[in-house]
């Protein structure tokens, strides 16, 4: 029998706990495959966040440290300074990275820490039950913006890639999505490239992945994919925001 598909060796056998239709699982797979294909799984160390991906330390088949909420880039800095040859990456959601952890992400980027950040943006706090995030769209209703996020007083979404692109020491910043197969293929290319940058000691790399939260968006998995395409991408345009090597 011919093997046509295999689970990546970059993932453990622990069953994922993510909700049906959530794209965290796909993103895990892309990261795991990238580490294996670049032959760095054995020297990878993941820093897990607080949020939906808190159990990432059980899923990635490599060494791991669980960080306090928002502090993953600081933890990764500590690890990387001790093991400069390790491939150190954080896997963070938008509450973790774009709210409580803004100081840590901005300054890790400012120092040009040679780490990779996988930033999963689903425009909401998933784990805690669907509260408003800094990335929540204007008008989007959540459990803490029941009337829809109001631009006045609650503000408009924070665009992390655009913000970090102003920082000199960043090496690679890209926003991708996994809502269609071609997008997924492009996302993997970006993730691999980000790790490649770290392998070549080019500095700070971050890939923002637009992700779904059918549970807290109140949509079916298929509707959620469509929502990414029609509602999220116009606010969070896909693309490469910084590439030290030029090109995409």
């Amino acid at each position: 029998m011919k093997t046509v598909y295999e689970k990546s060796a970059g993932l453990t056998d622990v069953p994922l706990h993510y909700c049906p239709g959530c794209t965290h699982g796909i993103i895990h797979k892309l990261v795991a495959e990238s580490l294996v294909e670049l032959d760095v799984l054995g020297r990878a160390i993941v820093v897990a966040p607080v949020g939906c991906a808190v159990f990432a330390y059980d899923y990635f088949n490599c060494d791991a440290q669980e960080a306090a909420h928002g502090r993953a880039p600081a933890v990764a800095t500590g690890i990387k300074r001790v093991h400069p040859d390790a491939i150190v990456f954080t896997y963070q959601g938008d509450g973790d990275l774009a709210s409580i952890g803004t100081a840590e992400i901005v300054h890790a980027a400012m120092r040009g820490e040679n780490i990779t950040v996988i930033f999963v943006n689903n425009a909401i706090y998933g784990m805690t039950g669907g509260q408003m995030a800094p990335t929540t769209l204007v008008g989007q209703s959540t459990t803490t913006s029941p009337l829809g996020r109001n631009r006045i007083g609650q503000g408009a979404p924070l665009r992390i890639c655009e913000m970090l692109a102003t920082i000199e020491a960043t090496a690679y910043l890209a926003r991708v999505s996994v809502h269609t197969v071609p997008r997924l293929t492009a996302a993997k290319r970006a993730i691999k490239k980000a790790f490649q940058m770290q392998i070549e000691r080019k500095g700070f790399s971050l890939v923002e992945v637009l992700s779904t939260c059918p549970t807290n968006w109140g949509l079916s998995p298929v509707e959620a994919l469509r929502w990414v395409e029609q509602t999220m991408i116009p606010v969070f345009p896909l693309g490469v925001f910084k590439d030290l090597e030029g090109g995409t």
């Binding site: 330390y57 088949n61 791991a64 960080a67 600081a74 500590g78 001790v82 491939i87 840590e104």
Partner: protein, 355 residues
């Protein structure tokens, strides 16, 4: 190595490097800035790294990462900065990582002032951050001891996989005294760091995970009980204190760090006046030397606790004395350092003589 005149903060920094510390993460705050300055100058020469963090919050989480990666790592700060680090210290204790913290205390609360204080005793010895845990706390009274205890702190941290704090104050940090640093070898029987994240290729394939999350209450309770078994071992093996002229003392002064030095001068003055005072000086504040009180409890008419605070260690002395003898308290706070004369007056008042 010959004795060298050093500032307290420098002596602590030099001792840390001497003990094999190669990583420092910190944020500037008075009165401890000579520690990061020394580390930024000397660590690169020693093959290590100094990172100036964006905040104390980030610094302590860098410590978490480096400690989890298996390194000997130090951070230092002063009271308001140590408050900011409490979240990370709780995680480090929960994840059982070894690291050394230095708190060069200044006066609080709030922004307070930059003069010496001992008002972080509760924070240091009773937990500080959230959850059931302890940090082992060492309180030096002179610069040689500050250097020696800093070196010891790294061994204790590795032995117990727990944060160890060197608790001093702005006086110790800024004072200059001769210090001798001898070649230092870590204790030979320290456990191997077979839990550190290095990448599975380097560790032989088994995944290593640094974590303090236990969602099942029975597992978390078991974890906390294991932490407390460790603290019980510290309480059995790591209690340190000094008794000075307690044999014939009618008053035993209890003081640590800077105030113990002043108490020592006061005791000399008392004795020249015919007042028999002695000193019980805790060196470990956690574990607190409760047993030391049993050695001195019979003789004195009472105890005098002296602190640069409104009375924090006082609570532990009350527990130790357990109502058997009267306890007086003399505290100065806000950055005011008590004089020997003030303490002599307290002793005179206790013994019923004098003005």
């Amino acid at each position: 190595m010959a004795k060298k005149l050093m500032k307290g903060n420098e002596a602590i920094a030099a001792a840390a490097i001497n003990a094999g510390c190669r990583y420092f993460f910190g944020y500037p705050i008075t009165p401890q800035n000579e520690i990061p300055e020394y580390m930024s100058r000397e660590l690169p020469k020693a093959g290590g790294a100094y990172v100036q963090a964006e905040s104390e919050v980030a610094a302590i989480n860098m410590v978490y990462g480096a400690a989890g990666a298996g390194a000997r790592v130090l951070t230092s700060s002063s009271s308001p900065g140590i408050s900011l680090m409490q979240e990370g210290i709780s995680y480090i204790a929960g994840a059982e990582l070894p690291c050394v913290l230095v708190n060069i205390m200044r006066a609080g609360p709030g922004l307070g002032g930059v003069q010496p204080s001992q008002a972080d005793y509760f924070q240091a010895t009773k937990g500080g951050g959230h959850g059931d845990y302890h940090v082992l706390v060492l309180a030096p009274a002179n610069l040689q001891e500050a250097a020696d205890l800093t070196q010891l702190a790294f061994d204790l941290a590795d032995r117990y996989r727990n944060p160890v704090m060197v608790l001093a104050d702005g006086m110790i940090g800024q004072l200059m005294e001769p210090v001798e640093l001898s070649p230092y070898l870590p204790a030979a029987d320290l456990p191997p760091k077979d839990w550190a994240t290095t990448g599975t290729a380097a560790s032989g394939g088994r995944r290593r995970v640094i974590n303090s999350l236990y969602l099942y209450p029975d597992q978390l309770e078991q974890h906390v009980r294991a932490l407390y078994a460790k603290y019980a071992a510290m309480e059995r093996s790591e209690v340190r204190y000094e008794l000075h002229q307690c044999e014939d003392a009618d008053v035993v002064i209890v003081a640590y760090g800077t105030t113990s030095r002043i108490a020592r001068s006061a005791i000399e003055k008392c004795r020249s006046l015919g007042l028999r005072a002695g000193l019980l000086r805790p060196i470990t504040l956690y574990p607190f030397p409760f047993a030391a009180f049993e050695r001195v409890i019979d003789r004195p008419q009472g105890f005098l606790v002296v602190e640069m605070s409104m009375g924090q260690m006082l609570d532990d002395v009350k527990i130790a004395v357990a109502g058997r003898k009267p306890i007086a308290f003399y505290g100065r706070t806000g950055g005011i350092v008590p004089t020997p004369e003030e303490i002599v007056k307290q002793v005179q008042a206790l013994l019923g003589g004098g003005p």
